[in-house]
């Protein structure tokens, strides 16, 4: 059985689960953007004066493409932690899968496929909501869908690999608190990175969120040059590849002992 087919069957399983349980995730997937856009864009944004630093656009529109990326990265974090660990330890569905012709590597690929599809869906919903609320500056924001999906994968896939090495879920709380939270707040979604202390900026450059936000906002406002855009895509793509390589290794180690 070829790899793509085998991975697809793993995807199908999660899809079957999703069809029964989609309401819970759909509500949060739809509510999160609405609440964020209303509170921070419409509400808080009404008190924010547009400056040249944010391109002279209304704050709501400045925020929207970046929030696509931020919610994708958040969604990726949730999808890549407890659900992955559960399938090793509690539900044990991965263990059931590798008793069939499906290999540990194919189990990982099926997870990456699932994650990508979820991020794409979340980002599409977000952009749709943003358009309705008048937060979309122009058709360029459609490209934020791709930026969000890619940035989410760049953070989520290595996290899937990491989750495969854990025996206890405690580490996840540290990731939520000390990685996800600062990455949400300080990577340029809410204010330009140039306002941060100089020593912090190189750290921000390491985060997938910053690269995704640069891409999403640049595409929305047409301020993106080809070379930096390429740089962001290559960096995010490299993180995905690293995540897959490590994931194959860790899934094999976990499932084939």
């Amino acid at each position: 059985m070829d790899t793509l087919r085998a991975s697809w069957f793993g995807f199908e399983k999660t899809w079957t689960w999703y069809r029964r349980n989609w309401r819970a995730t759909a509500v949060s997937g739809f509510l999160t953007p609405v609440l964020f856009l209303l509170a921070l864009g419409v509400g808080f944004g009404s008190q924010v004066q547009s400056t040249a630093l944010i391109g002279g656009v209304p704050y709501l529109q400045y925020l929207a493409p970046a929030l696509v990326v931020v919610t994708a990265v958040q969604g990726a974090t949730f999808e890549s932690t407890f659900p992955v660990m559960s399938q090793f330890m509690w539900q044990k569905s991965f263990i059931a899968m590798v008793a069939t012709p499906i290999t540990p590597a194919q189990v990982l690929y099926s997870q990456v496929m699932w994650l990508g599809s979820q991020l794409l869906l979340r980002s599409v919903v977000f952009v749709g909501v943003a358009a309705v609320l008048g937060a979309a500056a122009g058709p360029g924001i459609l490209l934020a869908i791709l930026a969000g999906t890619l940035a989410g994968l760049a953070f989520g896939v290595p996290l899937v690999a990491y989750s495969a090495t854990l025996e206890k879920p405690e580490a996840f709380n540290n990731i939520f608190r000390f990685v996800l939270m600062p990455m949400t707040l300080f990577t340029g979604a809410f204010f330009p990175v140039s306002q941060l202390p100089d020593w912090l900026v190189p750290v921000v450059w390491l985060t997938p969120a910053w690269h995704g936000i640069e891409l999403a906002r640049g595409a929305t406002f047409g301020t993106l040059d080809l070379l930096p855009a390429l740089g962001h895509v290559v960096y995010l793509g490299a993180l995905v590849v690293v995540g897959i390589v490590l994931g194959v290794k860790f899934f094999h180690r976990r499932l084939a002992v």
Binding site: A6, G10, T16, I102, A256
Partner: protein, 304 residues
Amino acid sequence: MENLVEAKALTKHFGSFEAVRGIDVEVRRGEAFGFLGPNGAGKSSTMRMISCVSGRTGGDLKVLGMDPGTDGPKIRARLGVVPQLDNLDTELTVRQNLQIYGRYFGMSRQKCREKAVELLEFAQLADRADHEVEPLSGGMKRRLTIARSLVNDPELLLLDEPTTGLDPQARHLLWDRLFRLKQEGVTLIITTHYMDEAEQLCDRLVVMDGGRIAAEGSPKELITRYSTKEVLELRFQPDEEKPDLTRFAERVEVLPDRLLLYTVDGEATLQRVHEQGVTPVQSLVRRSSLEDVFLRLTGRTLVD
């Protein structure tokens, strides 16, 4: 006769721990083969190697004539695996569990639907088909796990402790299903630490202890070879000193609460013991079982 499994000097190490220390095993087509031993004997590690999930550390292993190291997916396509711990998708329905598992083997959706209906009958779960798995009883989950392992019509079915944790009624129902499979020509490999299960189900078995094979044969052969026809069990007060009765039996085993006297005629032995003025609290004459074989081979009881 064709061998579905051939292992020679098979070993498995986890770091410095030697779980399996060089075993030779042959499983023939159509038989029910057992690995009997206490927890930690190396049964599950052996099963995982045979099911082509875990690689071997050393020795030779052929399953269905192929090498698990290179042909794992191809072999697994023709195996059924019932793991020690249920790993059903508990948030899906009974039917969905069967259908999805069929997909893992590359079966068409149509075929999976048909197979699910057939297996629901087999597992006696047709009336629960569209219920979620989570609230089902342990016995029902176990039957579903077994049904699921049959979705690809396996030639070889591997069952790791299939009835551990089930009540007697659920066990008998399960054994009945396994008998039926055997009659249909499915080769079974079963690990268990229950001697009655091994005696009920297995044509041939190996007794494992400490990663090695201590003995091999049919349950009957093993009992004849390693034990006497009957056993006289004498129970004494816990703090009472037990008398030396070695002269009355071929062999005597001293357990914390009782003596086991291995003899051809238990009643006769009991009478002679009574004549000597020995008065146990309780006495019982029974046939030898695999438990006695295990005790003889390892000096320990099977279930501690």
